[in-house]
């Protein structure tokens, strides 16, 4: 019995050591990146490692709020994080980011002027845009028919086929827009009404999802759900039945940008990473892979887009004018959001 244990443990150890082989150890250090899930062309990571010799430790989060929780909890250190606009302004307010040294990010000049001096980072100190896109309805018309309103998500006729955002701001945002309010309202009665609407929806809902929505809409497990325009393009490749629309009540347009955390330990490697992702060639490859819109002004000409992709990736001004950006809310409202969200899920 003893002998067989020793044999087994040594076999396991050997297996463990063996499984470690095959990875090249980088000489120039490491960069820790924290990004949304399904939000990068992983070939670019390998390319970055080959070009710079810096090893990439790439982790993903599901939503801005989840990222915030993990960072606030502490004990972790990331170098580059890629949150959304409103979360960046919150992190700036709470002193979680450090200013970038733009001398190390020359590709910043390639960023579209319209995305600079944004409301969340007015002096262009803390962030470099990564991708931008819109929120809309993705649906299978063969099951739910033609759709152009958020109401389809609350319609009992689609019961059991509906998916919803699993984060408070996106979910409440949709309810607020459907009711005709602003995405950024601090009026408690409006928020309550949105909460009531979501509570009613729970009975006909299939589930609260983030990236799990890919499999569900592609396989036909569900038939309608709100998500990001870029991800629609990916889903459409696997299920051409799917359609996308920005509802008449209006929606959300967002920018995700790369920032460096205050306690980052590899600042220069982080800036090298940011610079790499902003380069035209890389941003174009990334954009094509994940379907989101690159902030690099040279990319559009580089990509050869079909009609559908172009209309989704570069929506016309009429559609964009219906879209609102999230801004960071006062702490009191944020606490109320948390309270409502937990109550909703309970």
């Amino acid at each position: 019995m003893k002998k067989s244990i020793i044999v087994i443990i040594s076999a396991v150890l050997l297996l463990g050591l063996f499984s470690g082989c095959g990875g090249s150890t980088a000489s120039k250090g490491v960069v820790n990146v924290y990004n949304w899930g399904e939000y990068i062309d992983t070939d670019l990571l390998t390319q970055f490692e080959d070009e710079t010799g810096i090893s990439v430790n790439y982790k993903t989060f599901e939503s801005n709020e989840q990222m915030y929780s993990v960072l606030k909890q502490g004990g972790v250190s990331y170098d580059v994080v890629i949150p959304s606009d409103y979360m960046i302004s919150r992190m700036i307010d709470e002193d979680m980011l450090q200013p970038l040294d733009f001398a190390n990010i020359p590709n910043y000049s390639l960023i579209d002027g319209g995305l600079k001096n944004a409301a969340y980072d007015p002096d262009n100190v803390y962030s470099v845009p990564y991708m931008w896109s819109t929120v809309g309805l993705i649906y299978d018309p063969t099951v739910v028919g033609e759709v152009d309103s958020w109401g389809a998500l609350f319609d009992s006729k689609n019961s059991g086929n509906i998916l919803m955002f699993d984060n408070s701001r996106d979910a409440m945002g949709i309810a607020l827009k459907y009711l005709g309010y602003s995405l950024n309202t601090t009026d408690k009665s409006e928020l309550e009404k949105a909460y009531e609407l979501l509570k009613q929806q729970k009975g006909i809902l299939q589930g609260y999802v983030m990236d799990q929505i890919f499999d569900k809409l592609e396989s036909g497990e569900a038939a309608i759900g709100p998500y990001y325009a870029g991800d629609f393009l990916t889903m459409h490749e696997n299920n051409p039945n799917l359609k996308f629309c920005i509802p008449t009540e209006g929606s959300n347009v967002f920018v995700d940008a790369m920032c460096i955390l205050k306690n980052a330990q590899n600042k220069e490697n982080a800036e090298a990473f940011i610079n790499f992702m902003t380069a035209t060639k890389n941003s174009a490859a990334n954009s094509e892979f994940i379907g989101y819109t690159s902030p690099n002004k040279e990319v559009k000409d580089l990509l050869d887009l079909d009609e559908l992709t172009e209309s989704v990736m570069y929506p016309d001004q009429a559609l964009l004018s219906k879209c609102e950006s999230f801004i960071n809310l006062p702490q009191e409202t944020l606490d109320y959001y948390d309270e409502l969200w937990i109550k909703l899920k309970s």
Partner: protein, 275 residues
């Protein structure tokens, strides 16, 4: 007689089908040529190839094995000595200490995980370290030791106290008694505890989730992250491999045990025959 038992046997067989059906489905679809987990389209070994070239999965497998082996070995040492120490204590000390020892076993693992994460984060803020392999290891050792102690204590109680006296009469010091007499006697308990601790460490998800931080990941954590995104049959491939490895190990252990059993029976027969 047999009539009464067939009902039970059928019920048992159905239960085993219930236990294995999902696993068989997982295994079958790990060879599916499309991503679908429910529609079969053809045989392929692609997912296994992708699995082995996935850097994150391989490194998290390595982390899991390393943490589990080290933690269970350390736990075996500390736990065995602790059990011997407890054994020699007066009852009124031993009782409460054993109760505290059982806390990680009874407590829900999410509470163990969350409480340890609070400890590590506060301590880390004061002393300047972060969550990482070290904290992960400490967490694993902490929940492994109680299993070792629970495994060793009964064996200690089964020991004949006269053995200690005898060895000390023969001139051994206490330490020598421990190493030469006690430990060999309780070795089955130690090995058992080691194996249980190892299993607990390998299978753990929740405690690792809260104590590993950003730089390391165990296999469970990686699998969890995979289920939160696009599901790839790589998960099925991992399941199949794990199943195969465990099956082989259990078969080996069982074959060995039955061989030993047969050898013992043979010995008995021979001894009887000699008489």
């Amino acid at each position: 007689m047999t009539k009464k038992y067939t009902g039970g046997k059928i019920f048992t067989a159905l239960t085993y089908v219930f236990l294995y059906a999902p696993i068989i489905v997982l295994i079958v679809f790990s060879f599916n040529s499309t991503k679908s987990r429910t529609i079969w389209s053809g045989f392929t070994l692609n997912w296994y190839k992708e699995l082995f070239s996935d850097r994150l999965i391989m490194s998290s497998l390595q982390t899991t094995l390393l943490v589990s082996v080290v933690a269970s070995l350390v736990a075996a040492v500390i736990g065995t000595f602790a059990a011997i120490g407890f054994y020699n204590m007066k009852k009124n000390w031993r009782g409460p200490l054993l109760t505290v020892n059982n806390i990680p076993v009874i407590n829900a693992d999410i509470i163990t995980g969350v409480s340890l994460s609070l400890l590590f984060v506060s301590a880390g803020a004061l002393m300047g370290f972060e969550l990482g392999f070290g904290t992960l290891l400490i967490a694993h050792i902490s929940f492994d030791i109680p299993y070792v102690i629970l495994s060793v204590m009964p064996k200690l109680y089964q020991l004949d106290r006269n053995l200690f006296e005898a060895s000390q009469d023969l001139g051994c010091t206490w330490f020598q008694t421990v190493y030469k007499v006690i430990i060999p006697e309780i070795m089955p308990g130690i090995i058992n505890g080691l194996l249980i601790a190892f299993t607990m460490s390998v299978d753990d998800f929740v405690i690792s989730y809260f104590t590993a931080g950003s730089s390391v990941q165990t296999l469970s954590m990686t699998i969890y992250a995979m289920t939160r995104r696009r599901i790839s049959p790589k998960i099925n491939a991992i399941s199949t491999l794990l199943f195969a490895v465990v099956l082989i190990l259990l078969v080996i252990v069982n074959v060995r045990e039955s061989r030993q059993h047969k050898a013992e029976l043979k010995k008995e027969k021979m001894l009887k025959g000699a008489n």
